[in-house]
Point group: none
Chain length 69, copies 2
DNA sequence: GAAAACTAGGGTAATTCGGGGT
DNA sequence: AGTGTCCGAATTACCCTAGTTT
């Protein structure tokens, strides 16, 4: 079909992330709004989350924080 | 400044774009019909999308599309 | 020419959004 | 401060069949 290797960053849906953290999807949305989790928006306004970032969070990997003293 | 002779714009299939956004191919079609994403039609009526535009959209770059069906 | 995979189109259920209140 | 739940509205996902692409 297409011979061009498109860089694909696997994205997760809100419910996917919610299931991984055992919380409500609404809570994941709040994390995104609070800037604790980066989110990518679909053209319709729905949020998608980076699987790699979520995995790091689940593994207790500290995220990049601005001015951490 | 920079002249592009024959711009060989890479085109993506609906499923390609759908994978990048983590949505259904049908959703990408909806975006094209809504004018949120410019589409190029094949002679048979299938849609193709500009990779550069899709990447900009994924990066949160707002697009300016006057009219597109 | 033929087969397999993908896409278009319509309709309905599930998910998500945003705000408000516990 | 943080989370789960309710409401209404919008967006998205899955069902099917026919046509297009490779």
């Amino acid at each position: 079909m297409n011979a061009h290797p498109v860089e694909t960053e696997t994205l997760l849906t809100p419910s996917e992330v919610a299931t991984l953290f055992r919380v409500d999807p609404k809570t994941v949305t709040r994390w995104a709004k609070a800037g604790k989790l980066s989110s990518i928006r679909t053209l319709g306004g729905h949020r998608r989350y980076r699987e790699s970032e979520v995995r790091d969070l689940l593994n207790g990997v500290p995220q990049q924080r601005p001015s951490d003293g």
